[in-house]
Symmetry: none
Subunit: 208 residues, 4 copies
């Protein structure tokens, strides 16, 4: 396996001007990833698209990895922000509604920026950045599991850990595939149908 790439920002941008530079670099990286793929996202190209010199790029990002890491970070931040706010009142709800909400949130999350999501999911070499992804899905996992605790009475399953793994994996996969591989044909009604199916699948499983 490859050594450990350095992904920590080299220097934190404090001034107005530099924050703009950092922003445009991340934005440019995301755009290139989506439009041309990981391989084309060379540091020179990123700098060019960002309208910034290659030197400036390296002032803030010690490597190409760091750049991609920042894109991932930003994307996940956005997702988790949505997830957290959407799930705020979920613990008060009965199982059926709660699960449907979980599924709907998952779909919404994938719709934030489906193309970017796809590139990040499929094309990025998983090297030295696993922790970040793990952290991310662990939060999802925790949120779900925490809900299950509160709804224990309605459940027909004992092992909440196992059940959470099954449910989170299932919801993630269904929405991921649906949005990314069938997103163009799955609009409106059919999407609702899919959410229903997913919710029914998971609810059925939990209720036994």
């Amino acid at each position: 396996m490859a050594k450990k790439p350095v992904t920590k920002p080299r220097k934190i941008a404090v001034q107005e001007r530099s924050r703009a530079t950092v922003g445009s670099l991340i934005e440019a990286t995301a755009r290139i990833l989506v439009k041309e793929g990981f391989d084309k996202a060379s540091t020179n190209r990123v700098a060019e698209v960002a309208g910034v010199s290659i030197g400036s790029l390296y002032q803030y990002f010690p490597s190409k990895e760091a750049l991609v890491a920042a894109v991932i970070e930003r994307h996940q931040q956005q997702i988790m922000q949505m997830v957290r706010s959407e799930l705020a009142q979920v613990r008060a709800q009965p199982l059926d509604q709660a699960i449907r909400r979980f599924v709907a949130v998952a779909v919404a999350a994938h719709r934030l920026d489906p193309q970017l999501h796809r590139v990040l999911a499929e094309q990025i070499p998983r090297v030295g950045r696993l922790e970040k992804l793990e952290t991310f899905s662990r939060e999802n996992f925790s949120l779900f599991r925490a809900y299950l605790e509160t709804a224990r009475d309605e459940l027909a399953v004992d092992d909440l850990e196992l059940a959470s793994f099954v449910c989170v994996t299932t919801i993630e996969a269904l929405t991921h595939n649906a949005v990314l591989h069938h997103g163009k044909v799955l609009t409106g009604d059919r999407m609702d149908a899919l959410i229903d199916e997913g919710a029914r699948l998971v609810t059925g499983y939990l209720k036994g």
Copy 2:
């Protein structure tokens, strides 16, 4: 420099020696992918590990893409061979047993060469090779769907297309995550438990 990837094998190795050469090249590629990752799998390195000159490599594979494609092809061939043979009598079975078998087969498929599977799934840039993967899962999809047709009486779902999508996606995701991310702790009993859970999840969904 790489331009448009050509993935058709340049010539079919008819003679004895040629076939051995091709085999060792594919094998070497697979080994390097697993042990050192996609980035380290340069054509020169592959040739070296295969004990073959770089010139000979290009005699049989017109590009690096072709080499990787051959590895994917071989891996999928192995998987589908297993899947087909395992599912031979499934159409005669009742739903419960059949689904359990589907899940078990999925697990077995992932266990054929989990590390290679993981690399192929995670690290290989999806460029111009999507058809192959699509073909692959389409066959799985078809097999499953075909079974559902035969078991229509037992089902509580109408839309077999949608149901197949849901089930195949779910089974694939569960087994994939289980084997690749938790493979080391999921041995014996716990693996059986997971197969049971998966089967129950899907069966419940189909039976309503």
Copy 3:
């Protein structure tokens, strides 16, 4: 990019604060040279270690060359100061004692800052700065030669120019090698022994 190295300090630091800044820049350069080598002594790094902005660095030193030149200058100033004071009364002394003193002074000079001395001697590209080094050893040469003039009666050599060259070169090489390559094992007694040997070598040569 660097073009023609300018080595004159850009402005003389008259004010209090300026002088401190200049001092810390030279100090930082010396520290980096010793601890990390010439290659790591980038201007940005020097400024950082000195706790000064890169802009300020260029306020006082027009180029990297000028910075290194200042370090050399300071080091040589220190050495020559010691040499001059140590050799003040040497002209009054008989040959044996005088030569021993010359050798001892050479050792002392190398011991002032052996590590810096070594870096300056070995790693600094000799570009456009030869004059300075020449000036330096020329002063040593002159001091030695001046002494020989005063001690002509005791000498068995005619050509004082040649003799000075031989002696200064020898003393310098012996002490340099002794301190830099064997400095750790050459402590106390053994160092005295070496001084004796050197003195005997040179004295014997001069006396014939």
Copy 4:
């Protein structure tokens, strides 16, 4: 201090053609070092001057360091070859003649390629290549010491180790300075005079 650069040749040239390539690369490096200095000896420039592609350069030399190391190696090989053959019969000779020969050989060695010698001595960062230089001067040291053993009767010194250090250092420094810093004015007669002086210096020291 810098990490350890890799200086081992990457691949040994076996065929006729490749040996020529390697040769021209080393030659080009040496030429550039002499004519333009270490800083200008970039790998691209070396390849260009050698009339070879940058790719070929890296087939045989893993780094710039390796290239310089090869130049050093070649130069030292030439020197040691001369030294060894010149000193073949020295052990049979009396002290006076032997020492004169040692000095003469040192001068001759420095005259093999004085400009290259100078660059290698002065400009090359001493990193990770010390062993090679050590090995080299250790051989000189050993040869000298071995001679002293055979001539013990004539010596007024006890510590042959120390004496060898003093003599080898002295001879090296004298000839080095003479040839490199005064080589242009030191021709013919004056050079002979210097050899005489050096020999007298050392002989006097050894005889007491």
